[in-house]
């Protein structure tokens, strides 16, 4: 089933980590195999923030295996060495969990394709997000468990999207969890509720164009599909509108960039979405109770129509 939630504060920052946690926790009955956050924090914009993993948290049906911490340590060393070779300087390093790391990097190149390929060529290593504001944090368990594990409730920023997952198309592990980074674009992330039925056709075509897939999760296709459209020169909104015909199946998804947040709904309107919109805040979720967790007072909400695409700026 899965639940998605997102919010964007326009003109100010707020405690988006705590707010998104409340929204996703309200949706936990839609799935708590894994929960993911894409948080756009307040930063000075100088350094890149790279969230990556050097191992898996393995749940039911996963094709990954549990490994010893020493393996993670070895992979981390190779990552550090590769970063040095790429000319990226580690400014700050945090290791929240044995397999999950956060680096602040001084790196002056804009094209992240080669950078990402070099890092992800290291076996067992996956970049969860790369950007100057975006941080993707995802792990097994419900929203509160993941928030507590990674201490996300203090994170201040302008906008965020998140996902509570009930695994259907692939196993329970971090690589299949949402949000997906819009590789290789800085600060682009995607969450999705639904099923895509032309996944393999699109995947083959996109891989032939040099794009990479890290999981067998159909939702990853949306991130890669839109990233490819943007590589070809489309705007975020144009890429999203194109996806309504390019992607087959039922879906409602959110895309976020450094300064915007968008939603798209398939032409069958088969997946739910409730939307609240005001001058200073947009909040949306699979169910109204997600919005109620941040806006308990009586408000006007609505369901976007079939084939609708909307994008908001901060």
């Amino acid at each position: 089933m899965c639940g998605i939630a997102g919010l964007i504060h326009r003109g100010k920052s707020s405690n988006v980590g705590s707010e998104l946690q409340g929204m996703l926790q309200a949706l936990k009955h839609r799935g708590e195999d894994s929960t993911g956050y894409a948080l756009y924090g307040d930063t000075d914009g100088k350094n890149f923030i790279m969230r990556f993993k050097v191992g898996e948290n393995v749940g039911e049906g996963s094709t990954s295996v549990s490994e010893d911490v020493s393996v993670y340590d070895e992979r981390k060393k190779i990552v550090d060495q590769t970063l040095s070779e790429l000319g990226a300087k580690i400014v700050k390093e945090e290791r929240t969990l044995p397999y999950s790391l956060r680096y602040e990097l001084a790196y002056d190149k804009k094209d992240l394709l080669e950078f990402s390929q070099r890092i992800e060529n290291i076996p067992g290593v996956e970049i969860l997000s790369m950007g100057k504001s975006l941080e993707v944090i995802k792990d097994l368990g419900n929203a509160k468990a993941v928030c507590d594990r990674y201490s996300l409730d203090k994170l201040v920023g302008t906008h965020a999207i998140g996902h509570a997952r009930m695994a259907t198309e692939s196993g329970v592990d971090i690589k299949s969890a949402h949000p997906f980074w819009g590789y290789p674009f800085s600060d682009v992330s995607v969450v999705h509720n639904g099923q895509l039925t032309n996944y393999w056709n699109n995947r083959r075509a996109l891989e032939n164009k040099g794009m990479r897939f890290m999981s067998e999760c159909d939702s990853e296709l949306i991130a890669v599909y839109i990233a490819q459209k943007m590589r070809e020169g489309a705007s975020l909104e144009e890429g999203m509108k194109d996806s309504l015909t390019g992607l087959d199946g039922v879906f409602t998804y959110f895309v976020a960039t450094k300064d915007s947040l968008g939603m798209a709904k398939d032409t069958m309107a088969a997946k739910p979405l409730v939307l609240y919109e005001s001058d200073d805040l947009v909040a949306m979720g699979s169910e109204e109770i997600a919005i109620r967790s941040v806006l308990p007072q009586e408000i006007d909400t609505y369901d976007p129509f079939d084939g609708e695409v909307k994008v908001w700026q901060i």
């Binding site: 739910p272 169910e287 109770i289 009586e298 909400t301 609505y302 369901d303 084939g307």
Partner: protein
């Protein structure tokens, strides 16, 4: 299967010409006898007084607890119940088989007012997906917007949304009336079998797709017609009925009903003819 035989002994219903046959053998069929009406017991109903009013704050209740408390209040004779702080909770106000004034001060989540028979419900907020599913009788009024599958499979009653609704409104409906003050999404009236839908605003793609029967009235623009949905003539009788219905529903009383479009089933998809599958394909 029971045998059907003509017998000489008649029940009262048969004497009135309502039945000419009697099922014999193992059958569950029962005939209504007006003389015994007072002995009939309808499970889950109570004698309530509409002037007896109470408030129920459900902010800390689960849906099951809230529904149980509504039932408990009805058993105490309360005929008007005001629900405070529903906060978008799912499945509240379901399974009410009673005359009752039920007022929600706030919004409901999914499956609100499901499987009801008789209550008059007013919701001062919005409702999520599948509101009033399987409504048998009564009146449900939503002051704001509604989600998808609004009034799915209703058999009777009036379902009114003063705002806009999502996709698949009135899917599989078998009776009753759905009235929408704003716009409606895709697949409105999908596979409807009976009843009427009135939309004062615009409606999305595939209107009345695969509808068996029933009527849809649209005041605004239509995105596209679904399979087998066709235009029909809006008669004087239709217009009179629309005026009366909109007035009773307290919505669009001054709406110019003469400009509305009437959509019905073309009945080309019906399987009650002798068309071969290939011929049927051509007919569609």
């Amino acid at each position: 299967m029971a045998n059907i035989k003509n017998v000489t002994k008649k029940t009262k219903a048969q004497a009135m010409g309502m039945h000419t046959e009697v099922l014999t053998g193992r059958t569950q069929q029962k005939f209504f006898n007006p003389d015994e009406a007072e002995n009939f017991y309808y499970f889950g109903t109570y004698d309530v007084d509409f002037n007896k009013r109470t408030n129920l704050d459900v902010i800390d209740m689960t849906a099951a607890e809230a529904n149980k408390e509504i039932d408990n209040l009805m058993s105490q004779g309360y005929g008007t119940i005001v629900i405070k702080n529903p906060q978008g909770k799912h499945s509240i106000g379901v399974g009410i088989l009673n005359k009752l004034n039920l007022i929600f001060e706030g919004s409901l989540g999914y499956f609100g007012i499901g499987s009801c028979d008789g209550p008059t419900v007013r919701i001062n907020g919005r409702v999520g997906w599948s509101c009033a599913e399987n409504l048998m009788a009564g009146k449900v009024v939503i002051e704001k917007n509604a989600g998808s599958c609004f009034g799915a499979a209703i058999r009777g009653g009036d379902l009114i949304c003063k705002g806009s609704v999502g996709a698949r409104t009135g899917i599989d409906m078998k009776g009753g009336t759905i009235i929408i003050g704003g716009d409606a999404g895709a697949f409105t009236g999908f596979m409807m079998q009976r009843g009427r839908i009135i939309i004062l605003g615009d409606v999305g793609i595939n209107l009345g797709d695969s509808m068996y029967d029933g009527t849809i009235f649209v005041g605004g623009e239509i995105g596209s017609y679904g399979s087998d949905a066709v235009d029909a003539e809006l008669t004087k009788s239709d217009q009179d009925w629309l005026k009366r219905k909109l007035k009773v529903a307290e919505i669009g009383e001054n709406f110019n009903v003469s400009k509305m479009k009437k959509i019905v089933a073309g009945k080309k998809l019906w399987n009650y003819d002798n068309l071969e599958p290939t011929e049927k394909k051509g007919a569609i």
